[in-house]
Symmetry: D3
Subunit: 237 residues, 6 copies
């Protein structure tokens, strides 16, 4: 049985990345995953947060927000608990593959602004944020040219159980119907960064967990390939 | 003497409008005026603000925000006095050409989110917001098909005095150097909607005022033509 | 046809200024324009905002607020978009005639608190704020006695189109009925500082604009004379 | 030994009340107690807070705020703990002499805005608020003309121990030097409404407490006489 | 090699539950997991949030907060992103085992206030919240006595990788040193509710994931037994 | 006639203090006064607020909050005017017996978190806060061992007039019914620190005031004895 948009169970939505979509920020990527569009911009600042001053290390953080017109009906323009949770996840995911000492004392903020939401905005944000981060790093004079500040690439995808089937890369309709919803963040070399699985008003078995992780691994491998192609470079070196 | 980007004194920046840039909102226009990019989305809601309930009229309002990565250095993600002032201006400009009774009891919110800022974000927002508004109205079952809710089109442009010259459509560099900065909002039929002229830490004469208004009028006429072409329709009928 | 309070079209409301109405602030003026009463106090502080430190310049800013009991029905005690917009306008108007270097590294804050509102609170605030500012400057040891920090005086008045007539200095009833509402800020020597004209849910022609500016110019000249008399001094020297 | 301004220990500062200082609010009194000036306005609203709806009773509440220019150096324009505490005190004091059922289902808000602060702002506020409240009640159609909504008058004064002496009606200098600071709210008939005595970084004995209360009683009697004269009416009938 | 407090790798900290620790709330449990102490209170309200009105269903939600004195150094008393994230997790975990229709139109709020924090506050909160919830449900007249509103019990525990070893129920010291940190929420019948694994500035392999889940399963089984004993009842029936 | 819980008019509720109830804070006391339970923790910080820097003095402050589950119905988790007022009272009460210079440049914050509220939460907080403060001071290396930072002990109790009788230590039911409500803060040596008497929607006579103070004095003496016993030490030395 095909999915409502004709995809196979383990098939990603069409995934596109447009580099330098805007010019002001140091890195800027427009990510499109099916009907979900996220603008990821990375801005470098020559100083770190106060609590990190004098440590000889850099910092990477993220902010996530949905534009009011990104959903129908329109969404209010204020930060809620969900946004906070997502931006903490994006920041952790990027730092997990970073060597903050190699960055020098500077901070990079990656802003993920959702222009259009149709499911999977947080995973599209992570996948795009990594590419914007690489672009921003290219504009930096690194303290030690031999130490690159990123040890691996990172990408994310959602998986879920819908009507008893394990599906890859849920759109909004599928996400709404899912009994289990899981977001998986992995590196290009296949290590886990984050696993967040939630029974939506229900629970799930160990067997389902295993099937979900397998599907996610397949999706991440494909996203990693797209990232590498966009950047003309592959992790880990 | 040519301007720093080669334009003549009374020449607009390249101005583009992309319809249906996003799909969730009822109207969605991506406006590009030189290096300034604004996403204008219009969302219809089947109810009006509380203070207008039962009046048999609709409401049109606007919100304006700059994405953090739209400027360099990065801008903080909080509403300041300037944003509030601009979104009030956009809302007034749209309502000035609207027949709110012809709209029926519904509210339209136009969100203008600046993706990239290089001067003239508020005027690009107004010019784009009008087009997004028309698109959103197309999705509505109007109470009386013979009464269209917009009496005229509306567009806006900035003019200023830089080094003694009157310039049309200032970019960020020119805006920063301007002794006088004026935003003019006009209808397609050449009436004024708003005139906001400010001596930036200086003052200006009546003669300068006259020259500024003349240049603005020329720019508005060109923008009106682009709006009409984008929409395939011209105001006033 | 006379106005509802018997005034001629180009006649100001009775305008009074009481110096030293309160004693704590460095400058303090109670302004009464018909039924509108504003207390303008100017406070000097021996330091500038952080972003201006070390520049050898001073700063002038303003805050505007309406007391809850200044209107009927009572107004809530929170800053809204309108207040923010007005206090930005007052600050810009004062700085347009100021020589901030002549002030030395100090900040002057002018607070305009509306005790009673009956139209024209923002223009009465600007006209009074200038006088409170002069008073406050009198308490300062200027860095260079030969360089006075104000190049010109500044005053403001509203004009509007009501029932097809151009009226000067609108009270609340007239403001409510106005098709066009314009606030004009000018210097004592007749230069423009700000022109803010708004079609209230309508539009206006170039001819109307010209008539409005002419009426405003007459009103400003009279207000400038009252300022000069109150201060015993006239700008520009 | 005389006080620094020549007063005797049990002497009030010159105390003046100006009725109808502003016109918009239903009641409006300008109170001056020496160098302290407070504008008290009372506004009637034809509905009660939600939690009181349908009880057939009215409500009286108060708000207290200091204008930024009321002190030197200038005070920031935000509500702090002290303001909240004072406005709760004013509200309780007014309600203590009120018959809320006789008021009918309406709310009266008394705003006490300090224009100039030189000690005793909260007690001047209470004394003025009562008079503004009476004025506002005069504008109301009472449910039962035989039941007047105020059972007694209410006034307040500060007393303190400074250099071992019990002083009445402290100004700012005395308040700053006081070892004990007490605010007493009493009715025209000599009953207590509130007694708030504080050892400022110190403590006080029962004997001091007795002397303080005696001095306060004398001051309240004089303030009650001024209130009665201002209103042309005396409590309790 | 023993852990720093002498525990074995897969050993829980001493875990105690005190029923009816406070009396005002409908359910009240004091949970102690080693040096972590959480007070969980459940309060029933006879109405549901607005968006659920008229659906014939109930609602269960949670709030989480740390007292300022629960940590050393003292923690500020404001809700941060972390608290928001945790209270959303607690709420979801409780709802995953609930039959909201069997609850009738009422809301239960479970407050988890951390009195003392030494690692594992969110998992202790979930484990205690479930027991407080059961106690609160005992005070309710259920719409249908045959349909009990909880289908299963729920408990939570943390696991992590520290110095290459998989440890159960991390205290603060271990949590700080952990390379991988995972919170697992499971039902009494052994189904997953949530799995949240995070590489703290690092990543983890599939093998580690498997070992972590196995250890968590053992801990949850023990916590479920303590819950059952505390309540004198076992899930699922 | 006995009180509703069998107490005599001048009898305290059972009063218990549990030392070291939690371990993270420098001082930690669980206070129980009948059905009221407050956790008082004192945290020492090696720096003072900015406005006190370089003065060679310490600072003592307090925060007060009620847990949502401490009342029935549940209370919202936000700071209101009442909380602000109470925490200011607790702070002043502690500082009244303190020698801030003897403390050295450090700040102690005492948090009073109400776990269970049944009347008298602010007085139980003060009485417990003093003991937590002493405990925290024991952890400090004082600048001069001969100068102890506390000159006296401090405790508090409520008294009130209920049905014409003067009652000591009101519980919630009595507090609700009280015509007069008074909180008295006194030192171990019998000096007043604060007296706050309020006619709750009514007034009170001098005779009632005298009787209330006498009853409070008796209660404070008993509370002081319990404090001394808990601490194994008596004030003043």
């Amino acid at each position: 049985m095909a999915r409502h948009d004709g995809r196979k169970n383990d098939q990603l939505r069409p995934f596109k990345m447009k580099r330098r979509f805007t010019k002001q920020a140091d890195g800027s990527i427009l990510v499109q995953a099916g009907g979900t569009t996220v603008l990821c911009t990375a801005s470098v600042e020559a100083k770190v947060p106060r609590w990190l001053e004098g440590e000889g290390k850099g910092w990477i953080t993220a902010e996530y927000s949905m534009l009011p017109g990104s959903t129908s009906p329109r969404k209010n323009r204020k930060t809620d608990g969900r946004s906070t949770e997502i931006q903490r996840l994006i920041g952790r995911s990027l730092r997990a593959v970073a060597d903050l000492e190699a960055l020098g004392e500077r901070a990079i903020t990656v802003d993920c602004d959702v222009l259009e939401a149709n499911g999977g905005t947080r995973t599209a944000s992570i996948t795009g944020a990594f590419v914007a981060l690489v672009e921003a790093i290219r504009t930096i004079d690194l303290p030690d040219p031999k130490k690159y500040p990123l040890r691996d690439s990172v990408a994310a995808v959602s998986v879920g159980v819908v009507d008893g089937r394990v599906l890859l890369d849920l759109d909004y309709t599928e996400d709404f119907a899912a009994a289990v919803d899981m977001n998986v963040v992995m590196t290009g070399s296949g290590q886990f960064v984050e696993v967040q699985g939630t029974g939506e008003e229900t629970t799930f078995s160990e067997k389902e967990l295993t099937a979900l992780l397998k599907s996610a691994r397949k999706g991440i491998a494909e996203l990693t390939a797209i990232q590498s192609k966009t950047l003309g470079r592959q992790w880990p070196f």
